[in-house]
Symmetry: C2
């Protein structure tokens, strides 16, 4: 039976990459909402082994607009809280900066915090990001997502203020005023964690920002970075694999010119319904490659899909293995089958035909999270595409009635010359990145100062450090997490020491 | 001829203190808008000797609401700019953080920046604060000040964002991307300068925050601080002067019980029209004392009023000098005459009967700039008053339809335990204060770190260091300014050095 795994549980990575793909898609068509493809019978991410975590679910009344004083509605912000291990009144507060999805899903997929909390005697809090999960204003998701006027308060600065207000309130309620707050976050949540430390140093003493592409804006990093890294992830496994993929787009394009050709493509790739255009197939393949690069973990995982360890290695093995004479398309199919159908349960694949109207991350991407992305003709295995801001803006206007503000993030949070700006300003941020992760290209990969540091792992993928430990963790991952724990311990003991100095003054 | 000095040129201090007086006034009456008294023939502040400064006046289109993405109107932000001394492409940019008034008036009264700019090869920019002077949204001051819905975007965070956007744009237009920006500000503008450095380290390398009471919020400093400092300013000149003032309130109250008594008070204090209540007189006197403490400069000045040097000394001399048997009220009149009529030109005093409806600072005070102030029965010479948040809130609701957010500033910018929060975070801020200034009580008076420092002068008053130098400047003031210049030089050379390090990396 064909089912879709895209539940209401939005997934950080999926959402982020969908935005980059929209940009890529602009190359071929001005359509903004890409059709999102899912395998017909893969398991829902919700069905993956649940972490054994305990928390209370609570709601906090937040102001929808923190920055105007005209009457503004309130909305319930959901947060998960666990105080079992907390050393009452003095233990730290571990605050995960909820990102663009259901907070329960993030709590489930951030085992690291749960594992280290007891050791620190820490309270654990997972607040949900406004407009996601159950934290929606205007009474319902339908109302909240109706148009730009209701969506207008969905942005990073409002979200950070939500966290600040919530923490301040929690500290008072739990008589935890003297307790240091440590921030955690991955992906967009990692960006929020780093920014929160920079903007609210009086509220949090440090941040672990994992896979946080805070430099993926304007012209700070080359727009080709993301797809180049994905491509290199394939090339390093096998240059023939890279070449097969690179050559496949023209083959697909030429086959797709006729109805018979589309029929052939439909059959080759086992779609349940006939393809309407090659674009759908292209998107389906591009998604798979990009996600594979992000979750290119060294052990079997079920983060997005059930996958083997080193999944790209396996994809390339299958692409390469066919005997001479095997068609490119058959090779490609065998390869992506690793991503879409590793369990082998899918009989055919369903393309999601419903563009779903307004989605939260799409709105954020159309307003402040404007991340220019291109695909280089030379170094990328993807169809070449040059970022075109004008068409992007046009699409945003058409779909949301908003004009993007591509300078918003760099104006508010900086980014250009970040090493210059922060070399002697700020402290206690870890930017952790795995170089296999395509988002690492937009992240901080060098130490900025003694206490704003970069932890880079050659073999790491998207915020792998935040995931629960496994028996199969390689040494470098065990070490990375140990370093993070040590740095956080340093912040906390430094805080207690400063506390003593300041109050003995 | 009776004229009023209260022109459209709002004065930082006047506005700030008017808010504190409103609180004081709440003791006696729930009325929120105090009637503001002015002498009948004192010169307008605009008529004081003009500084010989040159600038171009320009306007920049700013977004009214930076924090929502729903369509928002633009408004013209005025700014004054001088590039005559600027070392093109590499010299620093001196940015004055415009506060709650006409920017031309602030430019005129901030001689320090103009004097040091040539030495630094600096560009000088004075942007006006939104909703003040000519920088009003909605086409006119009437429209902008109509109600809470139009006034809602008048707040510190929006104003800081205005500055950030403007600087970013200027840097691009002047090819000044590598140029370090140094912030200056006094009073509320000093608060903005400090906060801007903390929130936008990527935009400005340091801030001179003069007389910036960033701690005058919630319970950070005792609410009696302000009026205690004013009172001590009088007491240190003469304890009998202090006592006469302290005793005068009961005398006024008892005289004012009858119409004849009000007639007598009117005559004693030379009002042009008969007093309607003792409250007006009380406000008139309280204002004078508080302003006198703020502008208790060591040389003659015309900042608010034409005054002699050490004006409080002169006030007390006159209060004390009457022969035995001189009534308290006659003494008080002789004293405040120094403030309201030092030139001796006024024949009678006009009370401003028009509460003027909505004023910008009153709105800010009713929303985020909630500064609790009390007057101690024991240590203050003012009528005792205990800060009452409930009545304050009630008045704000009644007058503006807004509920104050007393925690807004501390949540956004911090304040509690500032030494703990910033001891190892941030850099390059000077908090300069004179201890005669009643606002010094809510300011940072101790070094926070090696580069977030406090410069305190025993004999200084409200942001005297920002004023133009005079022949009569005492040594401590000359030294204070020299220290400031040296620190700013340090930031700038440090910046250029870091620039080299980072770009040679």
């Amino acid at each position: 039976m064909a089912t879709k795994i895209f539940t209401t549980t939005l997934i950080s990575l999926i959402i982020i990459i969908s935005s980059s793909h929209q940009l890529l898609a602009l190359n071929h068509t001005p359509k903004f909402f890409r059709k999102f493809p899912f395998p017909s019978s893969a398991k829902s991410s919700q069905s993956q082994p649940q972490l054994d975590i305990h928390y209370e679910t609570k709601f906090f009344q937040q102001r929808l607009n923190h920055f105007s004083f005209f009457k503004t509605p309130m909305f319930p912000q959901r947060y998960l809280i666990n105080t079992e291990n907390w050393v009452v009144g003095s233990g730290p507060i571990f605050l995960y900066c909820g990102n663009e999805g259901d907070i329960v899903w993030f709590a489930q997929n951030t085992g690291f915090i749960w594992e280290i909390a007891p050791k620190f005697g820490a309270m654990v809090v997972f607040p949900e990001h406004r407009y996601y999960g159950e934290s929606v204003p205007f009474g319902s998701k339908e109302e909240a997502y109706k148009n730009a006027s209701t969506l207008g308060y969905l942005n990073a600065q409002q979200a950070l203020f939500d966290f600040a207000v919530l923490v301040t309130d929690l500290k008072r309620n739990y008589s935890a005023n003297a307790c240091p707050v440590v921030l955690f976050g991955g992906s967009y949540g990692g960006m929020l964690a780093a920014w929160m430390r920079l903007k609210y140093p009086h509220i949090a003493i440090g941040a672990l920002a994992s896979s946080a592409p805070i430099l993926q804006f304007e012209d700070i990093v080359p727009p080709e970075t993301f797809y180049d890294i994905v491509s290199n992830g394939f090339k390093r496994e096998s240059s023939s694999c890279f070449n097969y993929i690179k050559q496949s787009w023209d083959v697909i394009e030429s086959k797709g010119q006729t109805s018979d050709g589309l029929e052939l493509l439909t059959k080759t790739f086992r779609f349940c319904q006939k393809l309407k255009s090659t674009e759908d197939l292209r998107d389906w393949l591009e998604s798979a490659y990009s996600y594979l690069a992000m979750v290119n973990y060294p052990y079997p995982s079920e983060f997005l899909m059930p996958l083997p360890g080193h999944p790209i290695k396996e994809v390339c093995r299958r692409i390469d293995k066919g005997p001479a004479g095997t068609s490119i398309l058959e090779r490609i199919y065998e390869g992506v089958n690793v991503y879409y159908n590793y369990t082998g349960e899918a009989k055919c694949f369903e393309l999601d035909d419903d563009p779903h109207g307004l989605s939260g991350w799409n709105f954020q991407a159309c307003t402040e999270m404007v991340m220019p992305m291109s695909s280089s003709r030379k170094s990328s295995m993807f169809p070449p595409y040059e970022y075109n801001y004008s068409s992007f803006q046009e699409d945003c206007l058409k779909n949301f009635g908003v004009k993007p503000r591509p300078k918003q993030i760099t104006t508010v949070f900086g980014g250009h010359n970040i090493h210059l700006a922060l070399r002697k300003f700020g402290s206690n941020i870890i930017f952790s990145n795995g170089l296999l992760d395509p988002w690492s290209g937009g992240s901080v990969l060098q130490n900025i100062s003694e206490s704003i540091v970069s932890l880079v792992t050659e073999e790491g993928a998207h915020h792998i450090d935040l995931r629960a430990s496994t028996e199969n963790d390689p040494d470098w991952l065990v070490e990375q997490r140990a370093t993070e724990v040590k740095l956080i311990q340093g912040w906390i003991s430094d805080y207690y020491q400063n506390y003593k100095v300041v109050f003995d003054m």
